[in-house]
């Protein structure tokens, strides 16, 4: 497996950019895994597509219709032909599909579906609505849905650097999708169910949260702000939120405002 990994790294470094734009800067612990699997796929499909295109160009020149040239009658259905075709099919399958499947399953097991345990986890509940992100921190008791929950201003998500952040999400109205381009993660928020996702920031800074699932006419500006800060700044910020009390800035005036939207935290499996 180690040799394979090294081989993958080698091949992917040869062809860094059939893509001439870079994805947003990765500031997450596990984002590199997604970049790696994309880069491996880039490399092998460039090679295969390149072979196909070269073959086509060669055929176009060599076998173009011209006086004195005629086609060779060949049905391509002998045992040899079939065997070669199947072998090529399997070659493609094992050189691309099996490898990326292996990488993907490994990354899911080691990172994306491997939910963190331990005492330093930051838990946040998110309830998107048309067209904003409502956020909720558990407060001092560590429990959601209690009176000391902290509700910061809409769309203002603060997290500490280098600590795993677990997001639990359920929308108020329609389907939204919580998308962090700089962290390579995305999770749908579907009414009637809660979804859980986790990530960890490796850099301090300000980043954007986008809604990736069409949710109405202002979908395009359903934008949130993610502030990654040091442990100290983060606890100061939490302190401030506690002093200010819950923020009630539900936009629509004629909207029924649910006062208690938090739910009991559902531990991910």
């Amino acid at each position: 497996m180690k040799i394979l990994n090294r081989l993958i790294k080698k091949t992917t470094s040869i062809l860094p950019g059939i893509w001439f734009l870079d994805p947003p800067r990765d500031v997450s612990l596990d984002g590199y895994r997604i970049d790696n699997v994309i880069q491996y796929t880039d490399t092998v499909i460039t090679i295969y597509f390149g072979i196909v295109v070269l073959a086509m160009l060669y055929f176009i020149i060599k076998y173009r219709s011209r006086p004195g040239h005629s086609a060779v009658y060949d049905r391509g259905d002998t045992k040899k032909h079939v065997a070669i075709s199947i072998a090529m099919g399997l070659l493609v399958f094992f050189s691309i599909d099996v490898v990326i499947e292996g990488m993907s399953f490994r990354d899911l097991k080691e990172a994306f579906w491997n939910f963190p345990t331990g005492s330093d986890i930051v838990r946040i509940e998110v309830m998107p609505q048309q067209f904003a992100w409502n956020l909720r921190y558990p407060g001092n008791d560590g429990q959601f849905g209690t009176d000391d929950d902290l509700i910061p201003a809409q769309n203002q998500l603060h997290i500490p650097v280098n600590r795993p952040v677990v997001i639990q999400i359920a929308p108020y109205d329609v389907i939204h999708s919580f998308y962090l381009p700089n962290f390579r993660v995305k999770v749908d928020a579907t009414p009637g169910m809660t979804n859980t996702m986790w990530f960890q920031a490796t850099e301090i800074g300000n980043f954007e949260i986008a809604c990736a699932e069409l949710c109405g006419n202002s979908h395009y500006r359903m934008k949130g702000y993610l502030t990654v800060e040091s442990e100290e700044e983060f606890s100061n910020w939490l302190q401030e939120q506690e002093e200010e009390g819950p923020e009630d800035d539900w936009g629509d005036e004629d909207e029924e405002i649910p006062t208690r939207w938090g739910w009991t935290w559902k531990e991910a499996i």
Binding site: F20, L21, P23, P24, V37, I38, T41, I45, F49, V52, A55, M56, F59, Y63, R64, S65, S70, V72, Y73, D74, R75, G76, D77, H81, S85, I86, M88, L90, F93, I96, D97, V98, I100, S104, F112, Q129, Q130, Y172, D173, V174, I175, S177, Y179, P181, K186, D188, T190, P191, G192, N195, F207, E208, C211, A212, L214, G216, N217, S218, Y220, K223
Partner: protein
């Protein structure tokens, strides 16, 4: 066999039961909506590059959107959402489906299998007129005061139900018209399947059918199986919209407990993934046949190609979950869907290799249909390979709902199917209308389509890789999208050229129809049965039922002396 009874204008051209006339009716309908949907694409591109600016005169800025709430002649976010919703819906169900399945299917199936007509001619007629009714309902939705549907072509609830907050009845009209279109497709599918099973001429075994017929056969099977499923989903959605039920609504805005938005997504994609193959299988068939005709040699590995198409058809029915990786699907289910999706690589690779094999050692004639057929190899190669990113759960977590997906499905569905459709139209035009299409204009159309199309769709994938998410009215809203804005404008210009190129096609089509050179009986020297008939082909097609002796691709056979092809119905003299 020939139907000699007198026909009035109405029974001959309007309510005709002749499959060739119905095929042409589908062609007119498809071309109309191709232009309609294409024009919407131009408006989308304008809005993306020139957000909130007045439309120019050549995009009908003084006629369209005069009552727009953001200013006369300006596309606002509501109008933008309606545009991409209807662009997708129209291109898939009203342009590609009528052209490839309705027109090519109707025209080719009976002629290529040696049948006098479809097995149910009246059902065939009803199928077209149901589609026509669906089109009327669809177009009427534009006249509604709040405009047409705006929930995306997938119309995910709850957004597409009353709790989604989109004003007006556009969604109701969308759902109704799509149900009608599905009914039409279902009638066509039953007709095609029965015709292929029952009406093949003597000697026309399944493995002597042209691959076009194979593609249409498999497409029809998928349609017959899966259109009823989307119909069920649409009816539930319709009830939620008009009857006050909440089958597909949950969460804070639900007033009736027990609904589930995910139900719709499963139903939609159980149909929706096969739909991709429903659209592409006829194009694959056409391309496989055309490569053989213009390489002057048999389709390489004919039987393997047909079997691979069957394998892909079967696999396509069990992979719908890869559209839903980010919905919080259980890990076991996600992995299963990923594995099944990746399995499609094997038959696809064999199938693609056979295309290359057909070109190998051939004598390639670069007529316009051949150019389009070969370009399908290019666009489908790219489209198929980029599917790998979306099939893989981890890369899909990042790329899902971005322009990467948009670029990918435009390559597979729009580019491959459209170029396959153009190849088919250029190829069968002489048999349909008895005239030749202009060769030079055809080549201009090809190059002006092929190059800009790649500049648009490939760059969509690049943009998606750079993080650009879908259905964003104003890309300047996000800082992380700043690097793609230049590319965005470049794509818009490319898209205008692509759009203008289609005017060349339309001009060529109508010019050739009226003033084109009269076509010979078999201008491409093709071996399939339709080329044994003189144009115009009478109602009832063949004077006597042909007997089939050869496979569909007998080109350059060593026993042939004075020419390099032999018709399927001509015994090989030894």
């Amino acid at each position: 066999m020939r139907n000699h009874h007198k026909q009035s204008f109405w029974t001959k051209y309007i309510f005709s039961t002749d499959h060739k006339v119905i095929g042409k009716q589908f062609l007119w309908l498809g071309i109309f909506f191709l232009l309609f949907g294409g024009f919407q694409a131009m408006l989308i591109r304008w809005s993306l590059s020139n957000t909130m600016e007045h439309l120019p005169w050549w995009l009908l800025g003084d006629i369209l959107y005069q009552d727009s709430p953001v200013g006369a002649g300006v596309i606002g976010p509501d109008a933008y959402n309606q545009l991409f919703t209807m662009h997708g819906t129209i291109m898939i169900f009203w342009a590609i489906t009528p052209i490839l399945i309705g027109a090519i299917g109707n025209f080719c199936i009976p002629l290529q299998i040696g049948a006098p007509d479809m097995v149910f001619p009246k059902l065939n007629m009803i199928s077209f007129w149901t589609m026509f009714l669906a089109s009327v309902v669809l177009l009427v939705s534009y006249l509604l005061p709040e405009g047409t549907a705006a929930g995306g072509w997938t119309s995910y609830p709850p957004l597409s139900t009353p709790v989604g907050g989109i004003p007006g009845q556009g969604q109701v009209f969308w759902t109704l018209s799509l149900t009608l279109a599905g009914t039409s497709t279902l009638m066509g599918a039953i007709n095609y399947i029965t015709t292929i099973v029952r009406l093949r001429a003597p000697g026309m075994g399944y493995f002597k059918m042209p691959l076009t017929v194979w593609g249409l056969f498999l497409t029809s099977i998928l349609n017959a199986l899966f259109v009823p499923i989307i119909a069920a989903g649409l009816i539930i959605l319709l009830l939620d919209n008009v009857a006050g039920t909440q089958f597909l609504v949950a969460g804070g805005k639900a007033t009736i407990p027990g609904g589930d938005p995910l139900l719709y997504q499963h139903v939609f994609w159980i149909f929706g993934h096969p739909e991709v193959y429903i659209l592409i299988l006829p194009a694959w068939g056409v391309v496989s046949d055309l490569l053989s005709v213009f390489a002057r040699k048999p389709a390489f590995g004919y039987k393997a190609t047909a079997i691979c198409m069957c394998a892909i058809t079967t696999l396509s029915t069990v992979v719908w979950g890869h559209h839903m990786y980010t919905t919080g699907m259980s890990p076991l289910l996600g992995k299963t869907f990923m594995f099944l999706t990746l399995l499609i690589s094997i038959p696809s690779a064999i199938f693609f290799l056979n295309w290359l094999g057909t070109l190998w050692r051939g004598s390639l004639r670069f007529e316009v249909p051949m150019l389009f057929a070969m370009s399908v190899m290019w666009v489908f190669g790219l489209g198929g390979l980029t599917g790998l990113y979306n099939a893989t759960i981890t890369s899909d977590i990042y790329l899902h709902d971005t322009y990467f997906v948009v670029g990918h499905f435009h390559y597979t569905m729009a580019a491959s199917v459209l170029f396959g459709g153009f190849a088919a139209i250029y190829f069968w035009f002489p048999k349909m209308f008895g005239k030749r299409m202009n060769n030079k204009l055809g080549k201009v159309h090809f190059w002006l389509s092929f190059v800009p199309l790649n500049l648009v769709f490939f760059n969509m994938m690049v943009m998606g890789y750079a993080g650009h998410h879908r259905r964003i009215f104003d890309p300047t809203e996000y800082e992380f999208l700043a690097p793609v804005l230049g590319l965005n404008d470049f794509m818009t210009i490319s898209a205008y050229i692509l759009g203008a190129a289609q005017c060349v096609f339309i001009a060529n089509f109508f010019y050739s129809l009226l003033k084109g050179k009269v076509a010979e009986k078999n201008p491409w020297k093709a071996a399939t049965l339709e080329w044994t008939l003189d144009a115009p082909i009478p109602h009832g097609n063949f004077a006597s039922v042909p007997t089939v002796y050869n496979g569909p691709h007998e080109y350059s056979h060593p026993d042939l002396k004075d020419r390099d092809w032999i018709s399927q119905s001509e015994p090989m003299s030894s």
